[in-house]
C-alpha cells in the first residue's frame, strides 16, 4: 500500500515538473497561424520535414527558422489571397519517421508542398513518396546525387558542389599558390564524403598534391591526433569538406599546436557558428556560397536584419537562408501559376530563372537541378565573411 502511494507520488511529481518545464519553455514558441482571415479562404498548407530532435536537429531547426520567416513575410500580403500555414513535423533524422511524416503531410494534412529535409538521404526517401503522390517537395540542403532525378515534383535550392568546388581549388592553388594540401573528410557525413571526392580530383587537376588525408566524424570533439599528424606533414592549406562546427573545432586545435595554414572548405562552412566557436582561429578561412554578405541584395539584407530581430540577434546560416528561399520560390510559383495545385505550379517552379534569393541567384536547369550564379568565394575577416572573388557560372 505504502509503496503504491510513493510510486503515485513519484509519477505525480514527474508529470508536474514536466508540465512546469513545458510551460516554461513554451513562452518562446511562436504562435501557430491558423488565422481566421476575413477572406475566409482556406490557408495553403506547406509541410516542413526535418529533424527537430536527434543529432541532426541543428540543420532541421535552422531550416525551420528560415521557413518561419518566410511564412511571416508571405502572410503579410497572402498568397492568392490566402494565408500560408506551416505544418511542422519532426522526423528525428530517422527514415522510417520521415516516411510516416511524408504520408501524413500529404494524405492527412493535404499540404501542397513540402520543404525539407536538409539531408540528402531523407530527401531521397521522402521525395519518392511525394513524387508518387504528386506533391512538390523542395529540399533546402541536399547536395548528393539522385535527388531531382526522382521525378518532376522533386526540387532543391542548394548550391551544387560540382561547379563551386573546382573553382575554389583553382583559386587556392593558382592564385594563392598553396599546392600541398591536407584534406580532411568527415567520414559519417555524406555531404563531406561527396565533396571530398570533388576536392581531391580538382586538387590534382590544378597541379596540387594531397600530402595528407585525414578522417574525422561529425560530432567528434577531439582532433588532437589528426592535427598532430597534419602538423608533421606541414601542408600549405587545410581543406575540410564538412560543416562549420567541426571546421571551427579543427582550426582551434590547429592554431593551438602552431599550424599556420588556413582552412578552405565548401558551403558547409557557411554558418555564423564558425566564427562564434572558432573566433580568431578561423580568420582567413575560405569557403564559397551563393551570395555575398558584403554586396547583399536588398532582399538579403532585409532577411538578415529581420532574422536577427526575430531570433535574438542570431545570424542566419546557410540552412536558414535556403529554407527561406525554398518557401519563397514555391510561393512565387503558386502566384504565377495562379493555382495552389502542385500539378500546375510545379511546372512554373521548374521554369524559375535568375531568382534573386537570399542564398543566391537561383536558376533551375533542365531537369530541375539548381544553379546558383555567380558563386562567391568568401574569406573570414574580422569575424565576418567577406568577399574574395566572384566566379560566374554558365547556365545551360
Amino acid at each position: 500500500m505504502f509503496r503504491k502511494k510513493s510510486k503515485a507520488l513519484v509519477a505525480m511529481s514527474i508529470i508536474m515538473s514536466a508540465l512546469i518545464m513545458v510551460s516554461g519553455c513554451g513562452a518562446s514558441k511562436p504562435a501557430a497561424t491558423p488565422t481566421g482571415d476575413a477572406e475566409s479562404k482556406e490557408p495553403i498548407k506547406i509541410g516542413f520535414l526535418g529533424a527537430k530532435t536527434g543529432d541532426v536537429a541543428i540543420y532541421g531547426l535552422n531550416t525551420l527558422k528560415g521557413l518561419n520567416m518566410a511564412v511571416e513575410e508571405l502572410n503579410k500580403e497572402g498568397v492568392l489571397g490566402r494565408q500560408i500555414q506551416l505544418v511542422e513535423e519532426d522526423n528525428a533524422g530517422q527514415k522510417d519517421q520521415a516516411i510516416n511524416i511524408t504520408n501524413k503531410l500529404i494524405s492527412q494534412d493535404k499540404v501542397v508542398a513540402i520543404v525539407g529535409d536538409p539531408t540528402t538521404g531523407i530527401t531521397r526517401v521522402a521525395g519518392t513518396i511525394a513524387n508518387s503522390k504528386k506533391t512538390v517537395i523542395m529540399s533546402a540542403g541536399s547536395t548528393g546525387p539522385d535527388v531531382v532525378e526522382i521525378g518532376p515534383y522533386v526540387f532543391r535550392d542548394t548550391l551544387l558542389d560540382t561547379i563551386a568546388a573546382p573553382a575554389t581549388m583553382k583559386y587556392v592553388i593558382e592564385e594563392k599558390g598553396w599546392k600541398n594540401v591536407a584534406l580532411i573528410t568527415s567520414k559519417n557525413n555524406d555531404y563531406s564524403v561527396g565533396l571530398s571526392k570533388i576536392f581531391s580530383k580538382s586538387i590534382v587537376d590544378n597541379g596540387g598534391k594531397v600530402v595528407i588525408e585525414e578522417f574525422i566524424q561529425d560530432k567528434d570533439t577531439d582532433f588532437s591526433g589528426q592535427i598532430t599528424k597534419i602538423k608533421a606533414a606541414n601542408p600549405d592549406v587545410i581543406v575540410f569538406s564538412g560543416y562549420y562546427t567541426e571546421g571551427a573545432l579543427i582550426m582551434k586545435k590547429a592554431r593551438e599546436v602552431g599550424i599556420k595554414a588556413v582552412m578552405v572548405g565548401g558551403d558547409g562552412l557557411q554558418g555564423d557558428d564558425l566564427m562564434k566557436i572558432g573566433g580568431a582561429d578561423v580568420e582567413g578561412s575560405i569557403s564559397y556560397a551563393g551570395f555575398s554578405p558584403e554586396q547583399p541584395t536588398p532582399d538579403t539584407e532585409k532577411f538578415i536584419n529581420a532574422f536577427k530581430a526575430k531570433y535574438n540577434n542570431e545570424l542566419p546560416d546557410l540552412f536558414a537562408a535556403q529554407g527561406y528561399d525554398a518557401l519563397m520560390l514555391i510561393a512565387k510559383a503558386i502566384k504565377e501559376a495562379k493555382s495552389a495545385d502542385p500539378e500546375k505550379f510545379k511546372d512554373t517552379l521548374a521554369q524559375t530563372k535568375n531568382y534573386e534569393g537570399v542564398s543566391g541567384t537561383i536558376t533551375f536547369q533542365e531537369g530541375r537541378e539548381p544553379i546558383k550564379s555567380p558563386v562567391y568565394l568568401l574569406e573570414v575577416k574580422g569575424g565576418k565573411f567577406t568577399l574574395l572573388k566572384k566566379v560566374p557560372v554558365e547556365v545551360k
Partner: protein, 322 residues
C-alpha cells in the same frame, strides 16, 4: 473432429490457410486505409519481427543484447546487395538478409556468448559500433553516402504475413524442447547444465534465430525506405528495439506485440506535442517502468486472464496497454 485436428497434414494446411488469409485480408486493408496509417502499420510489423527476435535472445534466453541494430543493418545491406547488384527476387533477398545476419550472429556468438550479463551487453554494443564503422568504410555499401536504388518492394501484406509466420515460429519454439532449454538458461545456467542442457549451443541457437529475425526486419526496412545509410542503424535503433521488448514484458510474445504497437506509434501519437515530443517520450519510458517494471504484460498469464475475463461477463479486456 479433435482427431482430425491432430493430423499433421491437416495442421499444415490449416497453418497455410491462416497465412493465406492474412495475406488476403491485409491486401484488402491496404486499399482501404490511408497511406499514413498503413505505413505506421508496416513499421509496426517490421519492428515487431525484429523485436520478436530480440525477445528470444533477451526475454527467453536471458542474454542482454545491445547490438540488435547491427544485425538489422547486416540484413539490410545483404538484401540490398542481393536485389540490386545481383538482381535476385525480393523475397530471396529478404531470405539472404536473414541468413547473412544469422550467420554473423553465430560467428559472433561463439566467442561473445561466453560472457554473461552486462559484459555481454557491452560486447554486443561494441560489436554493433564496429559493424557500423565497417559499413561506413566499405566500398560496396557506398559508405556514408548510402546505398542507392533499392526497389521499394516491401508491402503491407508481405510484412504482415512474415509477422504471422514469425509469431507462429516463436510460439512453437517456446513450446518445444529447445524453448524450454532456453528458458532454463535464463533462469539458472548452472542448474541447466546439470540437467544436461548444452548452454552454449542453445544460446547460440537463440542468438542465430534472433539475428535472423533482425536481418529479415532490416531487409524489409531497406526495401521500404529504398535507401539506406550506416547512420540508420545506430545505437539508438538497438535501444528502440530493446525498449519494445522490455516495455511489453520480457519473454512475453503478446507483450512484445503490444510493445511494438505502443512504441512504434507513440512518436506518431505524440506528434501534436511537437517540440516536447521526445521529452514526453523519455518521461513515458520512466513512468511505465516505475508502474510496470516487468513490462506492460510482464507477469500476466494471458491465458488465465482471458479465461477469467470470459467467465465473468465484464467488458474488461485482458492486458490492455495504457
Amino acid at each position: 473432429m479433435k482427431k482430425l485436428l491432430n493430423n499433421w497434414i491437416v495442421q499444415v494446411l490449416l497453418f497455410l490457410s491462416v497465412l493465406a488469409l492474412t495475406a488476403l485480408s491485409t491486401s484488402i486493408i491496404q486499399d482501404i486505409i490511408p497511406p499514413y496509417l498503413l505505413m505506421i502499420g508496416l513499421f509496426i510489423g517490421i519492428n515487431l519481427i525484429m523485436a520478436l527476435g530480440l525477445n528470444l535472445i533477451t526475454g527467453v534466453t536471458g542474454q542482454l543484447s545491445l547490438g540488435h541494430a547491427a544485425f538489422m543493418s547486416i540484413g539490410a545491406y545483404a538484401s540490398a546487395i542481393a536485389t540490386v547488384n545481383y538482381d535476385l527476387p525480393f523475397l530471396i533477398g529478404v531470405l539472404i538478409g536473414g541468413l547473412a545476419a544469422g550467420l554473423i550472429g553465430i560467428i559472433i556468438g561463439f566467442p561473445t556468448l561466453r560472457l554473461t550479463g552486462d559484459y555481454l551487453a557491452i560486447a554486443t554494443l561494441g560489436f554493433a559500433e564496429i559493424v557500423r564503422v565497417q559499413f561506413t568504410n566499405m566500398k560496396i555499401t557506398n559508405g556514408a553516402i548510402g546505398f542507392l536504388g533499392i526497389e521499394g518492394s516491401t508491402t503491407f501484406p508481405i510484412v504482415m504475413t512474415i509477422v504471422v509466420l514469425t509469431i507462429c515460429c516463436m510460439v512453437w519454439i517456446e513450446n518445444s524442447r529447445n524453448g524450454r532449454a532456453m528458458l532454463a538458461i535464463r533462469e539458472d545456467e548452472i542448474a541447466s547444465s546439470a540437467v544436461g542442457i548444452n548452454t552454449t549451443l542453445y544460446k547460440i541457437q537463440a542468438f542465430a534465430i534472433g539475428s535472423f529475425c533482425a536481418g529479415v526486419g532490416g531487409a524489409l526496412f531497406a526495401h521500404t525506405t529504398t535507401f539506406i545509410q550506416p547512420t540508420d542503424f545506430g545505437f539508438l535503433k538497438s535501444v528502440d528495439i530493446l525498449s519494445i521488448v522490455v516495455l511489453g514484458g520480457l519473454g512475453s510474445i503478446p507483450g512484445t506485440i503490444i510493445g511494438a504497437i505502443v512504441l512504434t506509434s507513440a512518436p506518431e501519437i505524440l506528434r501534436p506535442l511537437a517540440n516536447y515530443r521526445m521529452i514526453v517520450y523519455g518521461l513515458l519510458l520512466v513512468v511505465i517502468m516505475i508502474f510496470r517494471p516487468y513490462g506492460l504484460l510482464g507477469g500476466v498469464n494471458l491465458r488465465q486472464a482471458v479465461r477469467r475475463a470470459l467467465m465473468i461477463p465484464k467488458k474488461k479486456q485482458a492486458g490492455r496497454g495504457e
